[in-house]
Symmetry: C2
Amino acid sequence: MRSVLRSRSELPVAVFDSGLGGLTVVQEMRRQLPQEAIVYLGDSARVPYGTRSPATVVRYASACARFLLEQDPKLLVVACNTASAVALPVLNDTLSLPVLGVISAGARAALARTKIGRIGVVGTAGTINSGAYPREISAIDSTVQVFQMPAPLFVPLAEEGWVEGEVPLIAAQRYLAPLVEQGVDVILLGCTHYPLLRRSIEQALARLGSTAEIVDSATAMAARVGRALDSHGLVRPAAAEVSGALHCFVTDAPANFSQVASRFLGEPLDRVEVVDIS
Amino acid sequence: MRSVLRSRSELPVAVFDSGLGGLTVVQEMRRQLPQEAIVYLGDSARVPYGTRSPATVVRYASACARFLLEQDPKLLVVACNTASAVALPVLNDTLSLPVLGVISAGARAALARTKIGRIGVVGTAGTINSGAYPREISAIDSTVQVFQMPAPLFVPLAEEGWVEGEVPLIAAQRYLAPLVEQGVDVILLGCTHYPLLRRSIEQALARLGSTAEIVDSATAMAARVGRALDSHGLVRPAAAEVSGALHCFVTDAPANFSQVASRFLGEPLDRVEVVDIS
């Protein structure tokens, strides 16, 4: 009923991630597209996706999408790099609304920045093993070389809040050294958790003697959502003067949940519901 | 049918953990109780439990137990500290076979070692927040003081294979320093993943100027299984000359699975089935 009575442009944008990392994308969307209502689902009961098999990631991503469709969204954003890398084709084939993934947005942003055609990508094991970034980048410009490195400890470091100091710095040096050796001039953060470690990653690059530019996909993703809404005629009218609501669902909320969530979102999170989607 | 035709003592011992950490308990059981058949379930599709809420851990642990009961075991071992800490009462109330958890085994082993009655415990956030170790230890000897510290990065470090070098050493120093300051003479490793980091933990203690003894619950747990089988008259007869089979189930098997699994088990794993228990 709701979608019949309301203009489709007033419907929310749905966003999901394996956990809270996708809130870095939400933060950028709220900055760039303040009038849009957002429904977010973090699958915190089954985070992380990055260490799981492709079949399991597809199963989990499909369950997330199924839940969000009940919220009647106008567009679905897969803010999880691993789910984008592995499950986007399935979601695109089975859903009847526009579905955008962070891989494509990040790939284009990295391509726009490289001057010498050598891009380094860090991500979870799932994202890196899928080969989604090299595939996406090569499809646009086959002369660009992509070097990859899985950085699995970055997710627990970001969630633990160990984002500065010796441990993340040494971990970042270890992960980035092989990419620096390849002479990349862009480091693409291929996981929505990684922007929290940005300062340590910058310091590690400096210690390794690299001047590579860091590109994160959250900013690129938000810009791409804006363009997609525009091209589908789905931008919420500015006449809807109030800024868009943010409604968050999670599949589990452990004790330190709101603290971690506000670290990712950059603002306090006042409306969160725990749901069981398994 | 099977249980009617066979003696109950010939049935397997069932063991579950959130992932592969429980294989450290299995390794000890195979050393101490070589004739026993073992059925292991690692809930690798939903690992780690240590960061999840108690309600979610109870739900996951119940699903694991349900699956293992189909294997007709004589005894159930909860090898996951978080599940033992949070879900053992529920499992004991709902299941009609003996259920043993690692918390009690670890607590008793630590008590046997402390000379000055000051025990330090490291574990996941879930285990530490549950207060299960201090509760268990106080119930046996209320004069003993227990100091706790969550060490959430130890699990991803063990799974990543970063068990030696600067990163685990600095992390261990940071986690252990507050316990050393309390003058503990025993450090109880309250997570089945942690024995893999034992050398780094020892080095960290040395750097912190502590001579505390490290106690891990895997060894204690295997001994307790042996005593429980004995007291229930369920020891598999030595006449059953072949050594017990090990049958492993996991809920997900990512690419590097067998490598990680054999690191935990200390032997190659030749028989593994992936099952969906959600």
